[in-house]
Symmetry: C2
Subunit: 329 residues, 2 copies
């Protein structure tokens, strides 16, 4: 078997990870298990996502941002269900380049996001791998009993919304790989979005209160809305001219000759980690008030119809769309 | 980023993994999250362990046994706490060698063990990696409220027990790497033990009922008892002549010139996945009855004293022991 410094893994737990542990349920990370008491009137909601170096993050991405992205892609899953996160289990498969400075940076990223999103470490495993680094998190949260928002639930007549902006994850990956030509501050905003997406945890209660169906945008807006349409057995009509673009994405878009193709790319790229959802028209005003209170951009991008599939138009004309997205790479 | 066949990951979920899903809580593996209702009078117990190719399993280990080992090392953690498992989340980081036959084999291994141990798949993630394959499982179970068995809890006067046999995991790894000379059926028994350890799930209720402290033997008996001694602030005295050996381990032992060293190696090797625990002497008879009912070998290997550390003797003489074990490789 590979020669690894076993002491490192012990010390990683006691020196770096133990300070992140939930004071009670994490049992000091010394007892192989976490113990979580029941919460009356609630269901437990659990999700698990993994990131692999060279697939989901770049070898030169700083490890504090890798840790934050790992936590945030999981937080995004829970937010889209209207659930409230409380803790997570972590598996670190450290590569040979992960010495103390890198492990320290990773843990600092986690510590920052624990404070920001109100979660704590419950347990997990730390191992070495002779290959590229990879990490996974199992995130847990609470939802009021029987009340999470599913992918199924959209009805004809509902409206389609998305939080934040669309396409920055895809552009950010291209920026990080130095494949884009834009002003430096635009490029760095995109790279930041790619490395450290913002899960819409704060908006989860509004989703729970008002959405008929929801999911987070990880595979690409079009692909994910395709999942929602299929699960709900409805058709979604999108107006691409409504797509919310960041300043950087707008600058990139303005430089494209083919607007249809450019919008289709932005709506098909992955890694946005926004919430796409449907809601009855009567809920729009309340959703807008809540978004405004949170200083969160909220955009109506289409309608739910009877039928199937996702259909996009740009200024009234049908746009052929790439439905695949970035799926479980 | 690495070029991977994204369709494979979708198909892996719908074709291979969905049939393993918990009929209700897994939500058909289509909704990003699992939803687990409360169970009255119980706490949720959670553990997460990872296996990496070339570190925790060998590149030529069949993938059905890798899947079973992955599930079993987690089942072993819960069994040692006296908890009852019900489901798990799975992250597969498939390497390039993991085509359909390998993925099929992996899932067949899981299916067999789901039936044997009464657990179901709740969710997770499936991704590709350009490096060696790795896998992690987050296993969940129930324990009667406030009642799991910790590492702390051993008191002077308690007895020290271990289930099954000791050293077969370490010998099995050596056998799998063709470093041992023994009769073929002994070698294959050891390899089988290394690849497919037997978690003592059936004995968990007895642990819960009778143990004062417990943990599973994954890092090596001596190292793990060291954790227990430290957590309980006690000293453990072991009699190495009592160590329960399998027929294969006995055959290997009989060929060693230095009995002290050989026993120390067996007691320091990892991957046993037995339960080591302490109990008041008054509980010994009930423990033996329960073990007999389950056709499970149960051996008293020492006593708890005031003091600290793990101290071993062989036929009355102190034996210097290697305390490190195989720790979080």
């Amino acid at each position: 078997m590979a020669a690894v410094d076993v002491a490192n893994e012990f010390e990683t737990i006691t020196r770096l990870l133990a300070p992140l542990a939930h004071p009670e349920w994490g049992r000091g990370l010394t007892d192989d298990v976490a113990l979580i008491p029941q919460r009356k009137g609630h269901d437990l909601v659990v999700t698990k996502d993994a990131l692999v170096e060279g697939v989901h993050f770049l070898p030169n991405d700083p490890l504090d941002t890798v840790a934050q992205k790992l936590l945030r892609v999981n937080l995004s899953d829970l937010a889209a269900k209207g659930a409230e996160p409380f803790g997570y289990l972590l598996a670190c498969h450290w590569s040979e380049r992960c010495g103390w400075p890198e492990r320290n940076a990773f843990v600092e990223g986690l510590a920052r996001d624990q404070a920001e999103f109100g979660v704590a470490l419950l347990g997990g495993d730390t191992v070495s791998t002779p290959g590229p680094a990879s990490f996974s998190i199992t995130l847990m949260g609470w939802a009021a009993k029987g009340r999470i928002i599913a992918r199924a639930g959209a009805h004809p007549g509902d409206l389609v919304f998305v939080t934040g902006t669309v396409g920055d994850g895809w552009l950010g990956l291209r920026a990080a790989r130095e494949l884009l030509t834009l002003e430096p501050e635009r490029l760095s905003a995109l790279v930041e979005h790619y490395r450290r997406p913002m899960p819409r945890t704060a908006f989860a209660p509004a989703v729970l209160e008002h959405a008929s169906a929801a999911l987070d945008v990880s595979d690409g807006l079009i692909a994910d809305l395709g999942h929602l349409a299929r699960a709900s057995a409805v058709r979604l009509d999108l107006q691409l001219e409504s797509l919310p673009l960041s300043l950087a994405a707008q600058a990139w878009f303005d430089g494209r000759a083919d607007a249809d193709q450019a919008l289709s790319q932005l709506a098909s790229g992955g890694d946005d980690y926004e919430i796409a959802f449907t809601a009855r028209p009567g809920h729009e005003a309340a959703l807008r008030r809540e978004a405004e209170r949170l200083h969160l951009r909220l955009t109506r991008i289409g309608e739910v119809k009877a039928g199937e599939g996702v259909h996009a138009r740009y200024l009234g004309e049908p746009v052929p769309i790439e439905q695949a997205g970035w799926v479980h790479r």
